[in-house]
């Protein structure tokens, strides 16, 4: 193991060690004070985040090109660590309130983050697979974390079965790629492809890989688990899943396809196009009929996967891909903050035994908790893509990039589905402001802080989006 090997995986290592140690330390923490575990895990995430940010600009590859720490992975890692932090903050009060407070929760969350980070750093399909499983398995457990609730169990089982099922395709895809290119290293794949004619085996393999990633990011038609799992899993887990898994999935998708498979871009672009369009349409249309806020947000997360996937549609077009992918990353950031904020509000209103999750439970929120309602309004606006929120900026970048790449109709579908989405997002706002009701919301420091921070980011960044976009552009520059 060389110096560069270590540098490459140092963030991941820090977090892994931290998580392992925490597992032990947790034994010493009394049951009533599991908050300490939460704080410690947050500390771990923060330390890693600090280190990651300090690495901005560096670019190292380790383990014979299996793992890399480049601008892209730093960007994604930072985002993942922030998601982890937000996930911890949301969980802190929630699992206590729901009676499922156990120290493993945080450890599992940390391991999952490790998997996600590794996924962003992976440059070998083997590592991709490993990382994917490393992020998935803790999530299966987390989804079923509320053991005494059948919904949670069901969510865990469904997620697990379907996740394993899709891993099967992924692995088989890797096998075929290996067969086609004699290697699993993506740089080597590029090299191989450039010296030989494309083979059907490679294409099929790539498609099967896409299925594995598509499952993780929940795009149509691999999305069906999403509503059920998101609804059944404890809300804090859902919040983390919707963000973290999506980020990691897209990161891997991007790195693998952009780096390894530009040669089959012509075909894959069409596939991406259809999937993206179908996801946007289906996610938004299905959300219209939802009456449960968790399911509504689940469908919304599907829809947003479609939007983000838009950014990858032109991935073979060298002139626009950088901007397009940067736009995708920006949109991811926007989505993560908005999404966490929205889930934060949901958590604030959720009661024991799955109560407080119907849309009608939001009636009168504006009167009772104006700040919470205002925050929710901001998140809903951002999800629609209305000013003054980061969601608007994200959509702007995204649609523009897609238009510049020549996919005008996709952009139009994007706009139209956004309009459709306005119906159900605004319905939440209407219910909060215009219906009378007596909602009771849990006000808890960490939760409030999370909501406040995400709301602030959602609004403030929309006024100064340039720096973030510049960072995202910088991050993806070296990929191509």
């Amino acid at each position: 193991m060389t110096q560069s090997d270590l540098t490459t995986i140092l963030p991941v290592t820090i977090l892994t060690v931290w998580a392992c140690v925490l597992l032990l330390v947790d034994l010493l923490i009394p049951k009533t004070r599991k908050g300490i575990t939460a704080l410690l895990s947050a500390l771990g995430l923060a330390v890693t985040l600090g280190y990651t940010l300090a690495q901005i600009g560096s670019e190292v590859t380790g383990f014979n090109g299996m793992v890399t720490l480049d601008g892209f992975s730093i960007f994604v890692n930072a985002l993942l660590l922030v998601s982890g932090l937000l996930g911890v903050a949301l969980a802190y009060g929630y699992i206590k309130r729901m009676g499922i407070e156990r120290g493993e929760y945080y450890t599992l969350l940390l391991f999952s983050v490790v998997g996600m980070m590794l996924m962003a750093q992976a440059t070998d399909l083997i590592v991709v697979f490993l990382a994917l499983e490393l992020l998935s398995i803790p999530l299966y457990v987390l989804a079923a974390f509320a053991r005494d609730k059948t919904d949670s169990e069901e969510a865990g089982l469904k997620y697990f079965l379907l996740g394993a099922f899709s891993s099967g395709f992924l692995v088989y895809g890797i096998a075929l790629i290996f067969g086609a290119t004699h290697t699993t290293n993506i740089f080597a794949i590029v090299e191989f492809v450039s010296t030989s004619t494309g083979s059907l085996l490679l294409t099929i393999g790539a498609a099967l890989l896409l299925i594995g990633f598509g499952f993780k990011v929940a795009v149509v038609p691999f999305h069906m688990w999403t509503p059920d799992v998101y609804q059944g899993a404890p809300t804090a887990v859902t919040a983390f899943m919707t963000s973290g898994a999506k980020i990691a999935g897209f990161a891997a998708l991007l790195r693998v396809f952009a780096t390894a498979f530009p040669s089959i871009a012509a075909d894959m672009t069409n596939v991406f196009w259809v999937i993206s369009a179908a996801t946007m349409i289906l996610g938004n249309v299905a959300a219209v009929a939802q009456t449960d806020i968790k399911r509504l947000l689940a469908y919304s997360s599907i829809a947003h996967a479609g939007y983000i996937l838009m950014a990858f549609v032109p991935y073979g077009n060298e002139t626009v891909v950088a901007t397009s992918v940067a736009a995708g990353l920006f949109y991811l950031v926007a989505y993560v903050f908005t999404n966490f904020g929205a889930w934060g509000v949901v958590i604030a209103l959720e009661k024991e035994a799955g109560k407080g999750l119907a849309l009608d439970d939001y009636a009168g929120l504006a009167k009772k908790h104006p700040a919470l309602a205002a925050a929710m309004t901001i998140f809903m606006l951002s999800l629609i893509g209305l000013p003054p929120t980061i969601g608007l900026i994200g959509k702007l970048y995204l649609f523009r990039a897609v238009i510049d790449a020549g996919f005008v109709w996709l952009a139009i579908i994007g706009v139209l589905t956004s309009v459709v989405s306005a119906f159900y997002y605004l319905r939440v706002v209407v219910i909060m402001y215009m219906k009378d009701g007596e909602p009771a919301a849990e006000r808890e420091t960490w939760l409030d802080t999370t909501t406040l921070v995400t709301a602030l980011v959602t609004v403030v960044v929309s006024f100064i989006p340039q720096f973030l976009f510049a960072w995202a552009s910088e991050a993806v520059l070296k990929l191509f």
Binding site: F129, A164, S167
Partner: protein, 100 residues
């Protein structure tokens, strides 16, 4: 020597059987086994390719897959047991209260 194509075809057949098993069986355990079958079909293909290419990375990858599958088994079985405890059944079609 048996041509590599045969291995690949076999692995494809195994993979298909695994997929169909997931689709048609209702017992969670059997579904899980079918998934294992899919993974192993992939393993077979990788090993076969590895031997043809005279590359170790294929064989190494298979080890990883097997290890990961074992980890999945651990988690998966635990989940199934948990479900069995509350539902007295491991019929996955019974586990469908979340829908719509």
């Amino acid at each position: 020597m048996i041509p590599v194509d045969y291995y690949i075809i076999l692995s494809a057949i195994l993979f298909t059987i695994g997929v169909l098993g997931v689709l048609v069986r209702r017992n969670a355990l059997i579904i899980f086994m079918s998934i294992e079958l899919m993974l192993n079909a992939a393993n077979l293909a990788i090993v076969a390719f590895g031997s043809v290419f005279e590359s170790f990375s294929g064989q190494i990858f298979v080890f990883f897959v097997i290890a990961v599958a074992a980890a999945e088994v651990a988690v998966g079985l635990a989940l199934i047991v948990e479900i069995f405890r509350s539902k007295r059944s491991i019929d996955v079609d019974q586990v469908s209260s979340l829908k719509g």
